[in-house]
Symmetry: C2
Subunit: 395 residues, 2 copies
């Protein structure tokens, strides 16, 4: 039988990028293309104790159906924590536990965006979110990311002209892929503009806890007295991505619709994983664990940057991020970016071509993304040497 | 701020049904409205041993990112099992592990259905699936369910006239809510018609293992030499709904698109739960466990039916199902169904109004659904007495 697909999914084609990423399954390849937490960043002993405790003392709750909104003790724990630590959440807000933060992008688009409506995105941005918006046939409007975050003048131009703009999607901390962190001034300006033009903000903060230098900057949601910010949080980078637990804090009226949307998507998030997160937050030194992870990633980031300078200082330029998992590298203008990425794979090191993150998929970019959390220190050293060999073809 | 929602979600309104179901949170209410497995139907000891083993011997796999298609050993285990036991799966098919079977309805609709296309459904059918199709702005075309399954003459009429019919959604075994099981002849006829009209079949089989009487009938997917059947399987009713693990077996070309769709929905299904299911299938007597559950449910079904006959034999009519979790009861014509359901809640017993399952939401129905897996035997006895008291208002 010949199959006909929906317009929304037909548009999401496998690309040259995927072909490059496929090669990374080869274990001889140094994995700078991934975004996995380091294996030593998992609190294995804590999770082992917690699961044993749950299976001994409350197994039926873990195995039985739960409610769509999420496991009540976890909702309460996160609500209190986010209020205290980040001033996130007002009386008009509520919380829903999601199957990873990716599901928040899906649910927000599902309940807010009709086909042909506009979603305003940072350019470049996270491919998983961009493809999610595309899967609803949204029109993406890109706003360039500068060293201190979104270009807010361009943002206002887009807000003035975009057709049915429904929300502004931003990753303010250690943005994927650019590594940029939005300044406090720009956060306030983005909020002011969103309010002025009656457009919501979808604030995605998966990396916020992974700050390894510089000063804390409060989330946009912490200013939200008007009910215009949807805050997406995740445990993937601080506890475990394999558990798929995220949470969304947003005005209750929006959350009621997102709950209906989640009901038809996956009914509820796995109970066992929700219970593990709740007990981890309440009974373990999870703030201490975050500090431990930050120490691991600070060292890896410093190592990678010092090698970028010594091995590739003549070839790539970059802004050192203050946290997160990624470094965004710019090639000399004369170098064909896709060609360089292919050369890198030939040298057995995988990087992600910058085109993967373009809001306008046909836009040209001289950049590629590398990750420092997945490879071991030895692999980082080896990978940088291999990248330099790939650069030799253009030197 | 005043929020504007997408057309797709604005159509899914809370209803009078929800108001009735809300009342069921009251612990004094006998829960005939639920669809939960009985607590003694969970293999708690097995899951306790398995989780301890995973956390001792393979914790990083459980905590790290997985691939979207699913945990490879689980895919292999289910593929071999479904081929051997049900003759499901051909060389052109592949498998993806999903976050419960609900996600299969979501992904199939996502990749196949444009807004305004038709999905053909059994009438009545499972509300979670109907709302899923509605959330993609699909047009639902209902085909009445008879005692031996879909009315296949009506099905052909619908196939002839429906605008862009994309798939036929069916629950052939112990259908929710009707309890009907589709005969072998009708399964073959539905397959023949689907092939003739070039329309796919989405075969949803969450209850298939819960047969308590009558003869096994092979799934429609077992005839599928043409690549036109998408088979949805679930562990919710035989192992645990809280884990949210399902699987879809369908032609590889369709699965590639569903994988792209899942990537933007939730990236992958929780690794820990996938690993628990795999070890349970391979290292435990899970067929023996299914037999044990069937014994539990056979007794509960028999108990409920004997009480339906003795307490309400003059008032409701029903066909005793050969398995599953539900009995579909018909009221005398003179009785207002919603009014009776409200009376039942007043008597502290909750049933689901049949209108919840209507394909055409404005269609009239004299039916309501009751469940025998959730309440204890004592509650079944008490609940039936209370239902009879509600009936007294009309006797």
């Amino acid at each position: 039988m010949e199959y006909t697909f929906s317009d929304r999914i037909a548009a999401l084609q496998p690309s040259a990028i995927r072909e490059i990423l496929k090669a990374t399954a080869d274990p001889e390849i140094v994995p700078f293309a991934a975004g996995n937490p380091a294996p030593d960043a998992f609190p294995v002993d804590a999770v082992r104790e917690i699961t044993a405790d749950i299976m001994a003392n409350d197994p039926i709750t873990a195995l039985q159906y739960g409610v769509t909104e999420g496991y009540e003790p976890l909702k309460k724990t996160i609500t209190a924590y986010m209020k205290k630590k980040h001033n996130v959440g007002r009386d008009f807000d509520s919380i829903v536990i999601t199957s990873g933060a990716q599901q928040i992008m899906d649910l927000a688009t599902k309940v807010l965006v009709n086909e042909g409506d506009t979603v305003i995105c940072e350019a470049p941005s996270f491919i998983g979110s961009l493809n999610c918006f595309r899967a609803y046939n949204a029109v993406l409007a890109g706003v360039p990311v500068e060293a201190d975050g979104m270009d807010t003048e361009k943002l206002e131009e887009v807000l003035k002209t975009a057709k049915n703009a429904r929300f502004i999607y931003t990753i303010p901390n250690f943005q994927n892929p650019s590594g940029a962190t939005m300044s406090l001034e720009k956060r306030k300006e983005v909020y002011r503009l969103a309010k002025k033009y009656g457009v919501l903000i979808l604030e995605d903060n998966p990396y916020g806890d992974l700050r390894v230098s510089g000063e804390y900057i409060p989330p946009i949601k912490s200013f939200d007295e008007d009910g215009i910010v949807i805050y997406a949080g995740s445990f993937s980078k601080i506890l475990s991505p394999g558990m798929r637990v995220g949470y969304v804090i947003a005005p209750a009226e929006l959350m009621a619709k997102m709950t209906v949307g989640k009901q038809t998507s996956d009914v509820h998030t796995t109970m066992l994983c929700q219970m593990i997160v709740e007990r981890w937050m309440n009974n373990y030194d999870f703030e201490g664990h975050i500090q431990k992870i930050c120490d691991i990633y600070r060292k890896k980031l410093d190592l990678m940057c010092s090698l970028l300078d010594s091995e590739l200082g003549d070839f790539v330029t970059y802004n050192k991020p203050e946290g997160g998992l990624f470094i965004w590298c710019r090639l000399p203008e004369k170098v064909d970016m896709m060609d360089f990425c292919r050369k890198a794979v030939e040298q057995k090191v995988a990087v992600v071509p910058g085109s993967a993150f373009m809001v306008d998929e046909s836009a040209k970019t001289d950049c590629f993304r590398i990750n420092f959390s997945t490879p071991t220190d030895e692999k980082i050293v080896e990978g940088m040497k291999r990248l330099s060999k790939a650069a030799d073809f253009y030197r």
